[in-house]
C-alpha cells in the first residue's frame, strides 16, 4: 500500500482525456492538410443535421454537446457557407429554429467523409475492426451512464 497508490493519471478518465485530445489534434491537422474549409465542430454538426434533418437548435446542441450559444454560432457559419438553411417552426407549441441540410451541404459532407475515412483507415488498420467496434460500443455504454450522472445544462 506504500507506493501502490491510485493516480489520476493512471485512470480511465485521464486516458480518455488524453486520447481524445490527441485525436482532436490529428483530425484538425488532417482538416488543414486536406484543405477542408470547415472546422471539426462544423463537420460534426453537419453530419448530425444530415442524420436528423429538420432538427431544432437545442436538440442539436444536446447531440453535439455544445451549449446553445455556441451551437447558434456554428449554425451561423454553416448557413453563411450555404450548407444548411434555417427556418422558424414550432415544436410542442413553441417557436423553434429548425434546419435542413442543403444539396451543397450533403455533397460536401460526402466528400469530406470520404477524404477523412481514407486517411484515418490507416490508423485503425493496426487494430482489428472488431476491437475498434468493441471499444466504441463500450465507450457508448459508458457515455450513457455518464449522461445519467452529469448535469447537462443545454
Amino acid at each position: 500500500m506504500t507506493d501502490k497508490e491510485i493516480h489520476y493519471t493512471d485512470s480511465i478518465h485521464f486516458e480518455l482525456e488524453q486520447t481524445a485530445r490527441l485525436m482532436k489534434m490529428l483530425t484538425s491537422q488532417l482538416f488543414i492538410k486536406l484543405d477542408i474549409q470547415l472546422s471539426m465542430d462544423e463537420y460534426a454538426a453537419l453530419d448530425t443535421i444530415f442524420c436528423h434533418d429538420g432538427i431544432c437548435q437545442r436538440d442539436l446542441a444536446k447531440l453535439i454537446l455544445k451549449d446553445r450559444a455556441n451551437t447558434g454560432r456554428i449554425l451561423n457559419s454553416l448557413e453563411e457557407k450555404g450548407l444548411i438553411t434555417r427556418y422558424i417552426d414550432t415544436k410542442n407549441n413553441r417557436l423553434v429554429k429548425k434546419m435542413n441540410i442543403t444539396d451543397q451541404g450533403t455533397s460536401e459532407l460526402k466528400i469530406i467523409t470520404a477524404k477523412f475515412n481514407e486517411y484515418l483507415s490507416g490508423m485503425t488498420q493496426k487494430f482489428r475492426a472488431k476491437e475498434v467496434e468493441a471499444v466504441r460500443d463500450t465507450l457508448r455504454k459508458f457515455r450513457m451512464d455518464l449522461e445519467q450522472l452529469v448535469n447537462v445544462n443545454i
Copy 2:
C-alpha cells in the same frame, strides 16, 4: 449501400470526443461540488509532477498535452498556491526550469484523489473493473499509435 453510409457521428472518433467531453463536465462539476480549489488541469499537472518529481516544464507539457505557454501558466498557479516549487537547472547542458511538489502539494493531492475516487467509484461500479481496465488499456494502445501519427508541437 444506399443508406448504409458511414457517418462521422458513428465513428470511434466522435464517440471518444463525446465521452471525453461528458467526462470533463462530470469532473468539473465534481470539483465545484467538492469545493476543490484546483482546476482539473492543475490537478492533472500536480499528479504528473508527483509521479515525475524534478521534471522540467517542456517534458511536463508533453505528458499533459498542453503547449508550453499554457503549461507555464498552470505552473504559475500551482506555485502561487504553494503546491510546487520551481528552480533553474540544466538538462543536457541546457537551462531548464524544473519543479518539485511540496509537502502541501502532496497532501492536497492525496486528499483530492481520495475525494475524487470516492465519488467516481459509483460510476465505474456499473462496469466490471476488468472491463474498465480493458478499455483503458486499449485506449492506451490506441493513443500510442496516435502519437506516431500526430505532429505534437510541444
